[in-house]
């Protein structure tokens, strides 16, 4: 698979939904496959909350693969032999694109908490500039899961003529009250970490690791399902040798400790707050006062909406709401609810039916 990584600078900057402006910004992107001559085989992949541009292929020395490697690749559902697949690290993230870790040209110091608020609409606008840079006037498809699915939906609303198809998986047209509530607990854990220093931790060369870890542990519970936790860990005790913390009793505790610890090593706390705020703030129908049908009436792309039965973060009902509104305004839209034991994370796992549906939709 031909893989390229690029850091692209956008000197024209970006006017943000909040009214603020980024005078210039950079996007870190990865591409797979080759763009054809008439530039018609582009597929844009949007990542979820903690994802990044490394969607497919081997990403490090440990031979770990990209977050959607089982969906994207040669001969896979998103076939890189046929399509030119692009994934960019979202603005405000911490994997190479401009974000809180970047240097603020005004102060010559890292932005930190001063990086402006970013919304799903801003991400889509920045990705449109990326499309222009790549010379792709129309994506054959824009797709993503969770927060990535929200971006795919917003693409079909913001730039109806710039994509043929959109894949909206394990997502919703807006975050629910419960989503916001969960995210607020995570943010509070970070804010109350004494190393957070009101968001200025970078200036003191420390990280609020404990807060990030707690936030991620809670996150993992919400991304999972009761059934899969029961299946993976049951009530099994952790053996003494591999206990992360001496206070750990059960395997599930050890797992959450491990995942939280790992995440707190690599993720930036200000990014965490910015990303979750973007997720909470998303409401596709905000401009139409909650009228989803009205906002979807401008969509020209064909939509594929997929929900997963064990997902309690963005449950199947959220997918069905998008389908119903799209149908009522005559937008072509298919909707399937797949069995997935992995809860919200199901969109990351390639079940046979999931792969068939995505492949069938792309090829149709």
């Amino acid at each position: 698979m031909k893989t390229n990584q690029n850091l692209i600078e956008f000197e024209g900057g970006l006017d943000l939904e909040s009214g603020a402006r980024l005078d210039s910004f950079e996007l870190m992107i990865e591409t797979y496959g080759e763009l054809n001559e008439d530039r018609s085989n582009g597929i844009l992949v949007c990542h979820a909350f903690s994802g990044n541009h490394q969607a497919a292929g081997i990403v490090n020395d440990k031979k770990e693969t990209g977050w959607w490697d089982n969906i994207i690749g040669p001969g896979k559902a998103v076939d890189t032999n046929k399509y030119f697949v692009v994934c960019s690290n979202n603005l405000g993230g911490c994997s190479g694109s401009s974000g809180p870790l970047s240097i603020n040209p005004a102060s010559k110091k890292p932005y930190g908490k001063d990086f402006p608020s970013i919304s799903v609409v801003d991400w889509v606008n920045s990705q449109k500039l990326l499309s222009d840079y790549l010379g792709i006037t129309k994506w054959d498809m824009v797709l993503g899961g969770s927060l990535g699915g929200m971006q795919a939906l917003q693409w079909s609303i913001s730039f109806p003529g710039s994509l043929n198809k959109a894949g909206i998986f394990a997502a919703a047209a807006k975050s629910s009250t419960q989503n916001i509530a969960m995210n607020e607990v995570g943010r509070e854990a970070i804010r109350k970490d004494k190393h957070f220093m009101d968001g200025d931790y970078l200036l003191h060369d420390i990280k609020p690791k404990s807060g990030l870890k707690t936030a991620r542990m809670l996150g993992h519970i919400t991304y999972s399902s009761e059934a899969i936790m029961d299946q993976k860990f049951g009530r099994n005790f952790q053996d003494i040798k591999s206990k992360i913390d001496r206070d750990v009793d059960y395997q599930v505790e050890n797992y959450l400790q491990y995942k939280g610890e790992k995440f707190s090593d690599v993720f930036d706390a200000n990014s965490y707050i910015l990303m979750t705020k973007a997720m909470d703030g998303y409401d596709a129908s905000y401009a139409t006062n909650g009228d989803l049908e009205k906002v979807l009436s401008r969509v020209k792309a064909k939509l594929l909406v997929i929900g997963f039965d064990s997902d309690w973060l963005y449950p199947p009902q959220r997918s069905k709401e998008i389908q119903l509104a799209a149908m009522n305004v005559g937008v072509a839209c298919s909707c399937v609810i797949l069995e997935g034991r992995q809860g919200h994370d199901s969109f990351l796992f390639a079940s046979n039916r999931y792969v068939d549906i995505v492949r069938g939709f792309i090829e149709s």
Binding site: M327, S334, C335, V336, I357, G360, S364
Partner: protein
């Protein structure tokens, strides 16, 4: 699988550029024809995974739901024609389903197997549950909950206040014959109806 005669009857009843929903759309063949030939804006409701996959591959908008759920969830939608081919007898409450279908759509196309068909009567007279091309499953396998005759169905339409705008009666070869048309309750294997609210 729908025969050509039946497919043509249904196609002729569907106006160009109309909004169509097909409850139990199968592999999406009918909708695909309607999209290609009549430029309809079409949606299918289907529960069978294999058939859903075929719809997706044809580029047909398909929604994974059973028919009862679909009719319930889409009651406030607004279609020109709703199609329900060979499924009315499988629903929990056919009369309520029909009412709701006529709420979500100006007209409904309904096809149903006729239990009054002479071969069914013969089977029953010989002491067995009917098994015909239109009712192929044995009693222990069938999904049919509410079988009826042509007479029963039209009686229901009358009492519910549904207008029968058009109807055709097909024999077990899928043809409109003189007998199936003149004496449908005995000689039609299948009834095809275009219903509307009175």
């Amino acid at each position: 699988m729908m025969n050509i005669q039946l497919t043509n009857i249904i196609k002729n009843w569907i106006p160009d550029d109309s909004r169509v929903i097909d409850f139990g759309c199968g592999d999406g063949s009918l909708l695909k024809d309607l999209v290609d030939q009549k430029n309809v804006c079409g949606y299918g409701v289907e529960i069978d995974h294999k058939k859903i996959q075929e719809c997706v591959m044809k580029g047909i908008s398909v929604i994974e739901k059973d028919i009862d759920e679909g009719i319930q969830d889409f009651e406030s939608s607004n279609f020109d024609v709703a199609i329900m081919a060979s499924s009315i007898q499988c629903l929990k409450e056919p009369h309520i389903a029909l009412r709701k279908m006529l709420n979500l759509s100006k007209q409904c196309i309904v096809t149903l197997p006729n239990l009054g068909f002479w071969k069914c009567r013969l089977d029953l007279a010989s002491g067995r549950m009917p098994v015909t091309p239109n009712l192929p499953s044995s009693w222990y396998e069938t999904k049919n909950l509410h079988l009826c005759t042509i007479k029963d169905f039209e009686k229901l339409c009358e009492s519910e206040g549904f207008a029968i705008n058009e109807r055709f009666f097909l024999n077990d070869k899928g043809n409109k014959s003189i007998l199936s048309t003149r004496l449908p309750n005995t000689f039609a294997s299948e009834g095809v109806y275009l219903l509307a609210k009175k």
